[in-house]
Every structure is written in C-alpha cells, then in structure tokens.
Symmetry: C2
Subunit: 393 residues, 2 copies
C-alpha cells in the first residue's frame, strides 16, 4: 500500500465527459495525492465472474484459520496462492520463509518495527530510510510515541554508532528507483518494502531473498479495499513477534478479505500460465506504459518540468526488456525556488509535495493509478499550465 | 472481541462421539481459554442462504468507502445496519453519535487510548479497570511502550490526583457483572466496552449513552473471523483521532468484511422485527440458558466449585425477565490455596487463571461459546473431577 496515506478530500466523481472550464472556481479538484489503485478495475471487469466468491452466513466464524501455519490466523488457501504467485512471477524466494498476513502492509510495517526493535536497550532504536522516502514512515515510527523505536531521518545522513532499522523501498516510493541499503552498518536490521516489485511497475531482475520482505494486494492487484498485505520472514522468532503484534492489535485479519485475496491472486497466477487468459501483468504493463508515454510527451513539450528517468532492464518474468513505470510520477518543477505542489494546487491538481518525503518542495509525487478520467484531466491541465506561462514555458 | 486473547493451542477437532478415556495421556485437550464464539454456527446454518453475499473481482477496489461518514473508510450500508440494530435492540443511543469502524474492537480499544491520551503531558496517562478486568487491557496499554499511556492496574486501588482513563466493561469480562465507573474522579475519561451488552448475554435495561462505547460483531453475531468492531463516539474530535489511528495503523478496514457484516446485522434486525423469522437473540438466549443450566447443575451437585450469581432483570428488548448468561463462566474453586487453572489443566481442560484478570488463582474464566462437543466433554470432566476426589467432593 506504500504511498497511500489518505487525503480525506476525494476527487469528485464527475464523469470524464465533463468539460474542463477555464474558470478556476468551477474546476473540480483532481486528487493525485494518494495511490488509490482503481486503474486496474477494467481488467477485473473484463475477466467477468472468474473472481466471484460467495460467503454464506455460517462460514469463517472462528478467530482461527484452517491452516497449520505459524501465523495462526492465516487461511491456508491464501498462503498457498501467495507462494504460488511469487513462484510464477519470480520476484521473491518463498521456500524457507514464513508468511505473516496483515491488515494491509501498513500493519506489517508496524509489526516489523515492533519485532525488530530490541527490548533490552535504554534508548529507542533509530529508524531510517534514504530520502526521498515513503512519507508515512516517520509517522508510523513515531505516532504511538513508542520507547521501542524512533524516526531518525534520511539514511544517507545516518552516522551514529548505534543499532538502527533501515527501510529499503524498491522500487522506491515516491521516485520509482531500484534501491539497495544505504547505511550498511553492522548494527543494522533491514525491512525490504517490496510493495511495487511486480512486473507492471518494473523489470523482475532476480528473486528477492531478504530477511523481511513486505508485499501488498493493494499495489499488486489493485484491491486496496481488502486491506491484505503479507510479509515473507526468514527468522522464526521475528515472524512470531510480528504475529504477536497482529494478535494484540487486531486479533488477526478478516477471513473474507483473505479468502477473496486468495481467489484473486489465484486468478492472476492462472492468467500468467494459461495462454487462453489475458495475462494480468501484461495488461497492466500496457496501461501504465500508455499513461507514462502520454505524461512524458506533455513534460517533454516544455521546459518547466522534469521527470525521473529509469533504465531499461531485462525482465525474467516477461522475457523482455522493460523500463520501470512506477505507480507514482516524481515530477520536478524547474527553478530551485519553485513550490510544485502549490503551483499544481492552483490548478486544482492535488499532489503531494516533496518535503513530505524528506526531499524538496520543487518535487511532487503524482499517482499514476487513478481513474482514466482523472488522469486525462490531469494531463490537460498540466499542458494548460505551460500554455498559460509567458512564452509558453 | 473482549475476552478473546488467543491461545495458539487449538482444541482438537475430534467429534463429540469420541469416548472419554480415563487415561489422561490419551485425553484430548479442550480449550475453553479463548472466547471463540462458534456456538452460533447452528443459527447461521439454520437460516440458510439469507446471509449469502457474493463479491466479484471489480468491486471494492478503492481505499475509500462510498459513504459520507466522518469515518472515510466506513461503508454506508454497514453504518446504516449498525444504527438500525441498536435501534431495534435498544441497547445504545445512536443519534448524534459518530460511528468509527475497526478491525475488531481490539483496534478500537487501541484507537480510543490513542485518542483520549493527552499529548501535552510530561507523563503517560494512567489506564485503569476494576479487577477482575479483561486480561488484554494491560498488554494493550503497554505493549508498544507508548509514552502516551501506561497501565496503572485495578481501578479500585487508583488514588492518584492525575488524569486517567478507565475501562468500564459491562457486562464484565471475565465475570459477567454489570458495571459502573469505579474511580469517579474529575480527571477521568471513560471507555465503555459494551461487547457483551446484547440480549443473549444480559437483560437490556436501558439504552447506553456514554462518550465512547465499543461493540463488536464477534460477540454479537459470532462472526469473529470477520474482525469487525465499531465505536459510537459522542465527540467529533475524539472520533477524528480514532479514525486517524486506524488510518496510520491499517489504512482502514476490509470492505469485504464490512459488507458481509452489514448483511449479517441486517438479517439479525430482520429476525427481530419479522415474526416469520427465527429471532436470533431468542435463539441464542436459549442456547446460553441451556448451557448455563447444565453447568450450574454440575456445580451445584458438589461442594468444590462456586459460580458467580446474577440478578434477574426486566429486558426492554424481549419484554421478559432475564438472568445474565455471560459468554464466560467465572468459576471459583473453594479453598483459598486452590489453583483452579492448574486443577482443570490436570484434566486437560484449558481455562484462563484468575491472576491474568488481576484476580486470584482460585478463579478461572471458562468460555461458554465453544462447540457443543467441547462443552459436553467439559461438563463430563468437571463432574468426573468431583467423583475422583475423596468422599466425592
């Protein structure tokens, strides 16, 4: 779910046919701030009833799941489909890993912090991530004012001779860059947040095999409303502590959401191995590629904005070269004094300013996963801003 | 969900026909420790497909719900059915209250602590509850080692001239007693945990109208696997902070679980107002009454145990007098030195000892909501323990 801190102002559900109006007061607000992945809806509509799942009144009453997993509330069918999908896609090693399920990967981030924080230290452990970092990490580390951990800022500036936990978000939120650990200290524990390490966003170059890896249905399939995330955890004791966190804070995870997620992940795996089905990742690659091409065209046509560039890499899953097409665009307005969020807000485009990511106000993060109509209006307005400027730039 | 801290050792799914064996090594373990409410399954099987709900692949993709609620992730249908059920049952005032939805009431307990803890104080606020108290409260208050709040023990011993938060659990977990605040200080904030204030457990004597009231689907309908709880909150700012807690920790609550819960609560309300349907609360009252009668018979037949007694009260919902039939039995083994949990464990009956509730080891809490076969074996063994003792007592 990375990058989805919610803004309560929803974009108005005005249909795409609504004409854009140059009178600012009547313009609808377009929310590109949060990463609500509704773009994938067209795929799920297209495949028809393959994902239908019915619950009757007497199912899933118990707190307990039916499996034999270390994670006592994890439905065995979901565990099976998670392992299968990773094997099909090749983006993570699952053998000898424990699967821990969470209410979205947010809860797993909190659980991982809890599990990796030493309890025998006089001071909270330092939490770092290289800037620009996911804007929710600082809040997640500190909002409970825990004595176990505290936010310690940009990993690149971390030079303390103390234990620390580093988040490695790869591809990174907000900027889509493939990442490695930055601190590389001997006292470090690592959390690999791999929410976007799926073929629609980036080439799968090798199966990840880190100590703690986080994934989420939200960004993989688009089902953010289900609140299902999972962790692959190498160490049993860390897994146990994460499960304990889930037990105390929510006594597990909705069985309905788990069973539906199992169905959906299963359909995705099927779509990858059965040539008669429409491959989910190829479909979503084409959607993202199209949006990115159109955005780059608008940006290229002027001298006001810069977009992050990405390498072309060979994808082991698609057996083709693929350029990263992140879930967010990390747009820079040229001119070091420019406040890009403010500039776009003036045109009723709600984005998230770079400062929230430990970066500069000349940057903004823009969701690429919203509705078609919103994305189209966004491009129109971005173009219009350029035309309004003196000399058209 | 109150009273449901999970024990990872599940009772074995041996069918009820399995003969009890006097050789202890071959006896199956019967878990009466947690409050898994599977007893209601027979009702949900009986009503057939009235509760069926189907999700297709393209539904509920968004983080956002479709309503206009302050709680931006709350499905409007669920809010509607929560309000309707309280109106039908008459156990809580809903007008002028905000509804906040959570992943079970555990998360709402944490959210309420977060929302009610002052942020401008040098010391954590004291959290208290009158003993015997729900055994998870101390852990929930302290497991994150928050500087916002800390567990301060039995409310009856609280005499500090400092701000505090008091949990009032009514009917109480573990002992089923109807409760009022104990501290009554001017600096107190109250959380009313009303998970068991439903007609199957106790007479509804008046609609509750406290500042923060917590409820859960788990204990109302038996659908613990859905992880749906709700809070009725009088103050908008407190509501906002609870929603913020949910946002940071899990970005909301599964839409599948919410929509299924809406359906189930709706069927319960229907069953209360439509005489052609089998009234859920009357049905579950009869199940609990039967179990309590059989347990009291066993206990009465000897001098080893004592059970809590409850008053007969007029229920505004059923328009009849009803004795409290709690979800847990609070059993006392006579003899001040007796360790009741240990005694029962020796007969492979897993219960929760009184010390975990801030009480004495001569008490145990026993779930009354488990499977029929487990309950039957429990009664057989309880009887057998008596017969094994010298002089049969």
């Amino acid at each position: 779910m990375i990058g989805t801190e919610i803004c309560l102002i929803k974009s108005s559900p005005v249909p795409s046919a609504t004409p854009e109006n140059s009178n600012m007061d009547t313009l609808i607000n377009i929310n590109l701030d949060h990463g609500d992945p509704v773009m994938y809806e067209s795929y799920w509509r297209k495949i028809g009833n393959m994902c239908d799942i019915t619950f009757n009144g007497y199912e899933s009453l118990s707190y307990f799941a039916n499996g034999k997993s270390l994670c006592w509330f994890l439905e065995s069918k979901l565990e099976e489909e998670i392992r299968r999908l990773h094997n099909v896609v090749g983006n993570a090693i699952v053998d000898d890993y424990y699967v821990v399920i969470g209410n979205g990967s947010s809860q797993l981030i909190m659980a991982a912090l809890y599990a990796l924080s030493p309890t025998n230290q006089p001071h909270p452990i330092n939490i770092v991530a290289a800037a620009p970092f996911y804007s929710s990490y600082p809040e997640m580390a500190d909002f409970e004012r825990s004595e176990l951990h505290k936010w310690a800022g940009d990993a690149r500036n971390y030079d303390k001779d103390e234990p620390y936990i580093e988040f490695i978000t790869s591809p990174n939120n907000p900027d889509g860059v493939i990442r490695e650990p930055v601190v590389n200290g001997i006292q470090g524990k690592l959390i690999h947040d791999l929410a976007y390490y799926w073929p629609q966003y980036t080439a799968i170059t090798s199966p990840a095999n880190h100590d703690v890896m986080l994934f989420t249905v939200s960004k993989c399939t688009g089902h953010a409303g289900s609140r299902i995330g999972w962790a692959l955890v190498k160490d049993k004791e860390v897994g146990r502590k994460m499960i304990k966190f889930m037990e105390v804070s929510t006594i597990g995870v909705s069985k309905e959401a788990q069973l539906r997620a199992a169905k959906i992940l299963g359909v995705i795996s099927d779509s990858c191995v059965n040539p008669t089905l429409d491959n989910f990742f190829e479909y979503s690659q084409s959607l993202l590629t199209d949006r990115w091409q159109r955005l780059r065209q608008v940006v290229k046509a002027n001298d006001l904005y810069v977009l992050q560039k990405y390498p072309l890499q060979y994808c082991l899953f698609t057996k083709k070269f693929y350029e990263t097409h992140p879930a967010f665009a990390w747009l820079m307005c040229k001119g070091s004094e420019e406040d890009c969020e403010k500039l776009l807000k003036g045109h009723k485009l709600q984005t998230r300013g770079g400062e929230k990511f430990g970066s500069y106000s000349r940057n903004v993060r823009i969701s690429m996963l919203g509705k078609d109509e919103d994305f189209n209006i966004f491009l129109q307005r971005l173009e219009a801003i350029i035309q309004e400027l003196p000399d058209g730039n």
